[in-house]
């Protein structure tokens, strides 16, 4: 892996104004408060329904952060990141149900398979214009739908795959209550936040941003454009597949539509799009807003007997962001509050 750049070669470090320092400190403190609040939920008078909703938010933040790496930092528009989610879920599930391999191991197999698929997709398309990569991700999603429907014995076909239930079990990474998943997903969000921050400040991250901004100029600056894109895609695919392990243990089931469908593909993109592409805070804030609004509207929808309102809400949120905050919440709305802070 690439070494981090020395302090003096980074942006914003040479002459940090005291104001930027204060903002950075404030962002850290808010983050810490949010972290502690979430971590203490099981000890507060909060029911499991709410905790489960928070877990959903944290899982989508993790997945969104993974997409953010390739699309936000790297500028590669993946419209089918569900491929890596699905490969992660199905691999973990099949290995567990059919071969009794615990998800602790299965998830790594899923990550390796995702890396292989990313490698094939990348080497076929990343030397061409960006639109070909975007199309390839869509094509791969469609192919995966067919594959997962076809191998019924392994995947359960169109009905999907449900994990054999073992109750509370460390070995099977299963739990009757959502609290353990709360800590697991919180760990993922924290880890992925730091990974994103690390990438943004690393040599690889600068190269990815250079390629995102201008490929021709990046090559003229000595950046190996293809290799940089490929590395970004691989990191993102592995992050997605690992978070998929958590997804599978929490939801206990996967089906072709949930893994490779259009609405899943959109949900993977929303946290970063709403929160702010290419920032480490973006997917966190965007994912929280996204799940909060969808929970509220779904709850309201059930009251009046309408289901599936969340998809509509996602669409509306995206529209609002594109029209009024094209750089996302972090980039547009909180721009001044977070100026100089590590976004």
């Amino acid at each position: 892996m690439e070494a981090a750049l020395p302090e003096s070669a980074r942006g914003g470090v040479a002459k940090p104004s005291s104001e930027a320092d204060a903002r950075r400190r404030r962002a850290f403190i808010y983050g810490l408060i949010a972290f502690l609040l979430v971590a203490s939920l099981p000890f507060l008078p909060v029911n499991n329904y709410i905790i489960a909703a928070v877990v959903r938010a944290l899982i989508f933040i993790s997945l969104g952060q993974a997409w953010n790496v390739v699309a936000g930092i790297g500028g590669l528009l993946s419209l089918g990141h569900g491929v890596f989610l699905g490969i992660g879920c199905y691999t973990t599930g099949i290995l567990f149900n059919q071969y009794g391999i615990p998800p602790w191991l299965g998830v790594w197999v899923g990550a390796v398979l995702s890396l292989l698929v990313a490698l094939v997709m990348g080497s076929m398309t990343l030397r061409m214009r960006g639109v070909f990569f975007a199309l390839a991700t869509v094509a791969a999603s469609l192919a995966m739908v067919q594959i997962s429907r076809h191998f019924v014995d392994l995947t359960g076909g169109a009905d999907g795959l449900a994990l054999k239930f073992f109750g509370n079990s460390w070995w099977a990474a299963q739990s009757r209550t959502p609290a353990p998943f709360l800590y697991a997903s919180l760990a993922f969000v924290t880890l992925y936040y730091w990974i994103t921050r690390w990438i943004l400040n690393s040599k690889l991250g600068l190269e990815m941003q250079a390629v995102r901004d201008d490929e021709v100029a990046a090559a003229a600056a000595g950046v190996a454009v293809f290799r940089t894109k490929m590395l970004g895609l691989l990191v993102s695919a592995a992050m997605t597949a690992l978070a998929a392990g958590l997804y599978m243990q929490f939801y206990m089931a996967i089906d072709p539509e949930a893994a490779f469908g259009l609405s899943q593909a959109i949900q993977l993109q929303l946290p970063a799009l709403i929160g702010g592409l290419g920032t480490a805070w973006g997917p966190i804030i965007g994912g929280a807003v996204m799940i909060f609004l969808s929970e509220v509207t779904n709850w309201g929808g059930t009251k009046i007997g309408v289901s599936g309102v969340d998809i509509l809400v996602y669409g509306l949120m995206l529209l609002v962001v594109v029209l009024y905050a094209p750089k996302g919440i972090v980039g547009s709305v909180l721009r001044n509050a977070m100026k100089g802070a590590d976004r």
């Binding site: 750049l5 020395p6 302090e7 003096s8 070669a9 980074r10 942006g11 914003g12 040479a14 002459k15 040599k203 600068l206 190269e207 941003q209 250079a210 995102r212 901004d213 201008d214 021709v216 100029a217 990046a218 090559a219 003229a220 600056a221 000595g222 950046v223 190996a224 454009v225 290419g278």
Partner: protein, 247 residues
Amino acid sequence: MNAPAVALEVRNIARNFGGVVALRDVTFSVREGEVVGLIGPNGAGKSTLFEIVSGNIRPSGGRVAYFGRDCTTMASHLRRRAGMCRTFQKVRLFESMTVRQNISVAASQCLPKGRDLGEEVNNILAQMRLEHQAERRPSELTLADRKRVEIGRAIAGHCRLLMLDESLSGLTHDEAEHLIDEIMQLNRARGITVIVVEHVLSVLAAMVQRLVVLHNATVIADGTPSEVAHDPVVIEAYLGTKQKALR
């Protein structure tokens, strides 16, 4: 003393865009340490030649050699790492990154072993007089400073041949004078070979030892500024209408 090495040799280069002949049978060479002007009217093929030499596009025919090594099919980022550096006619910076990061990303690709990256970036910032702009983003800079950043990014890390595509155009007289000073300083202090594309001939005449004239996709003259200025073919084809520009 030995004769200086040939830094760049362009031999029989040709390039078509569909039916448009942008370059045909272009041959010339540049010795190490020279400052050479490449002139010619709009559409003569100057930028296309830079694109080919830097590896951004492939020639339809001909060879490019860099310090004696054929590099016609070498990837452009590898040419840059070998010290073949360029700017673009329309400035191309990494707009979301700070000036420091713009320079740093290039410097980190090809810094010789044992040199400190932070120090190199600071040196370049100082050399291009960009210290006070280091934490700004390109969109906050004047055109002159944007061109400085692009040159800084071009030479960062390792540079033996610098190709400037109209880096002086669009600047005020003073800005252009300053930039020329800096370019000549790079040539003298760092021993960088320079090829300048420009159509403001009066500025070029003061800085270059040699002019290569491109007209209708091919080289029509190659010599000292005064030789070129008195070349009947050049006067006929190009300068005849632009005598004033030369003075």
